[in-house]
């Protein structure tokens, strides 16, 4: 190819090069400014709980008493968020625990066991799962899963008579979330497996390994960093999901005693209370602090993903 003549700024140059370049640069810069100002905004709102309202950050993180509207006569407002932090962590770990084995198995099935069926049927099915809005998951969870779990808890012979039998529980939230994050983990694991060089498999077969041995000893370890990226992305999604969880988890402000007990998450307390909170009050600021904490946690997840990605996909 011959080098384009750049001596003169012709209309041709503007059409073919400058327009595209400036458009891309503009949107790039715009996005960076947007991100920075967003983080700055959330941080400034979230930190005002501690700076303007003089609440202790330690109490925020480690106390479990949440009552931002409490009268001064009863001890003043309390904004301990530990119940929500604990709830968020436990419900998303539960979701991962349920979802990861399924997702990895399906990705192996799609790439190694039955690639044709996988590509033709399973992949579109997984894509449909991604496209379902979270409120639909929540609604399905509320109308189908909640009554089912309720009946289930009634049949389990528990010693504890006070067991929650409403069907709204940590387990229900975890189940709904696990369905929501399964496509993320499955499709990224699938991509990781697909990206492996063919030599790995062929070399393993040449050494006399069976298909199962190849998958277990060679392919999965080699694709592990990619799969872990999928798991962390799934975790991040589970952590940030608000609506679907809020509809099925019960939202009471106590530590759950078991996975059959009700819980609350950081996201659901924000969505529940934000509408009626007046901005600038301690109540609204405390919700912003929760949002800021969520942001920090998602930053942490992103750092983890980058660290895993940087490791590369090679067998030790």
């Amino acid at each position: 190819m011959s080098k384009p003549n750049k001596r003169k700024i012709t209309s041709h140059y503007i059409k073919t090069e400058l327009l595209g370049k400036s458009l891309v640069t503009f949107f790039g810069i715009f996005l960076i400014i947007l991100t920075i100002s967003l983080v700055f905004f959330i941080a400034s709102q979230g930190l005002s709980t501690f700076i303007l309202d003089k609440q202790s950050p330690l109490k925020f993180l480690f106390s479990s008493k949440w009552d931002p509207l409490r009268d001064l006569s009863k001890g003043g407002p309390a904004i301990g968020a530990l119940v929500f932090i604990f709830g968020s962590i436990s419900v998303s770990s539960l979701a991962l625990l349920i979802s990861t084995p399924f997702s990895v198995a399906i990705s192996v099935f799609m790439s190694e066991i039955s690639p044709k069926f996988g590509k033709k049927i399973l992949q579109p099915v997984i894509e449909i799962f991604v496209g379902i809005p979270s409120v639909v998951y929540g609604w399905i969870g509320l109308t189908l899963l909640v009554p089912f779990i309720s009946k289930l808890t009634l049949t389990i012979p528990f010693i504890d008579k006070d067991i929650n039998t409403t069907g709204k529980s940590l387990l229900t939230g975890g189940l709904v979330l696990s369905i929501m994050i399964f496509p993320t983990i499955a499709s990224i694991s699938y991509d990781a497996l697909k990206a492996l060089p063919k030599d790995f498999k062929e070399a393993s077969f040449a050494l006399g390994a069976t298909r199962w041995q190849t998958i277990r000893k060679v392919l999965i370890p080699a694709a592990l960093p990619g799969m872990l990226t999928g798991v962390v992305l799934g975790l991040a999604r589970a952590f940030g999901e608000a609506l679907a969880v809020q509809m099925v988890i019960g939202n009471n402000i106590l530590f759950p005693k078991s996975i059959f007990d009700r819980a609350n998450t950081m996201t659901s307390v924000i969505t529940m209370e934000m509408g009626n909170a007046v901005s600038g009050t301690l109540e609204a600021n405390a919700l912003w602090s929760l949002a800021f904490l969520l942001l920090l946690i998602s930053f942490l997840f992103i750092v983890i993903i980058h660290k895993i990605g940087a490791k590369g996909s090679f067998i030790k």
Binding site: L18, L69, P147, T166, G250, I253, L254, G275, N276, S279
Partner: protein, 284 residues
């Protein structure tokens, strides 16, 4: 060579500037008067319906209605972000006194709130004291108020909800609801769904959400109906407010006048199970 890059950079900047100004000018308003409302989700159906009717009659005017909650409505109207802030509590209860003073209150209708239970609960009527004992956690089984042997499951709203504040004030005589043991739901729709499918559950809903999926309880023998609220025999109700900052003008004024007009008050308001302000024989 150097001049060339210089010129190139300059033209790049120009294009950037043009793009930026285009992006900004896109945010400008079109002609014709337009106002926006936000706030109380309880009042949303009425505000929404009235706005649609108004726009159908007065082409050119544009009224956008958003929910968001009473707190947001009050904040946004005070900050000037919207023209009308809908609320089911008085501004004085949420805002600072000096802020509330700047807002003008227009009560547009009344909303009644009923205690609702799952249809399988055999109780039809509770006394005030029984209701207080149920919601404070003193009574935990339906047999204690004349029903079957069934555990009571409390379902309530977030502590800052307007519906909850009204229910607490007029049905529970300001008794503190039991925290922790109760399921908490944000949306009235979710409350309805949860009550309808949870055995032995009790909660509270605005009249506009009542249907045969849940059972509304009589309070001290009085049925929760619009007529009983209007004649003062059913006590659990609240005014629905439309707040403006200062005196309303222009489209804001004519829209509020329209909501208060006979047309809306006798047609749309009762249809959505709110109680027209002119029917009220009692005042608060």
């Amino acid at each position: 060579m150097k001049r060339k890059t210089c010129f190139k950079n300059a033209s790049l900047l120009t294009v950037l500037a043009i793009l930026l100004s285009l992006a900004l000018s896109a945010c400008g308003s079109s002609d014709g008067e337009s106002i926006s409302l936000s706030g109380s989700s309880a009042l949303l159906p009425l505000a929404d319906n009235a706005a649609k009717e108004y726009m159908a009659k007065n082409s050119g005017s544009k009224i956008s209605v958003q929910a968001g909650g009473s707190g947001q409505g009050l904040t946004q109207v005070y900050q000037g972000a919207v023209n009308i802030g809908n609320s089911d509590v008085y501004a004085e209860e949420k805002l600072k006194p000096e802020e509330a003073k700047e807002l003008n209150d227009h009560t547009v209708c009344v909303v009644g709130i009923a205690a609702v239970v799952n249809p399988n609960v055999k109780v039809d009527n509770v006394t005030s004291q029984q209701l207080i004992d149920i919601f404070t956690g003193k009574i935990t089984n339906w047999k204690e108020v004349g029903g079957d042997d069934m555990k009571i499951v409390l379902i309530n709203r977030p502590s800052n909800s307007g519906t909850r504040a009204t229910f607490k004030k007029y049905a529970l005589n300001n008794a503190e609801e039991a925290e922790g043991t109760a399921l908490k739901e944000d949306q009235s729709g979710t409350v309805k769904q949860t009550v309808s499918q949870t055995e032995g559950s009790i909660s509270y809903l605005a009249f506009s959400y009542l249907d045969d999926k849940t059972k509304a309880l009589k309070l001290n023998g009085v049925e929760p109906t619009g007529e009983n609220v209007a004649n003062g025999s059913y006590p659990v109700w609240a005014y629905e407010h439309m707040y403006t900052k200062g005196e309303p003008t222009g489209l804001t004024k004519s829209f509020i006048d329209y909501v208060l007009s006979d047309e809306v008050q006798t047609n749309i308001v009762p249809k959505l199970k709110f109680i027209p302000i002119k029917d009220m024989k009692v005042k608060r």
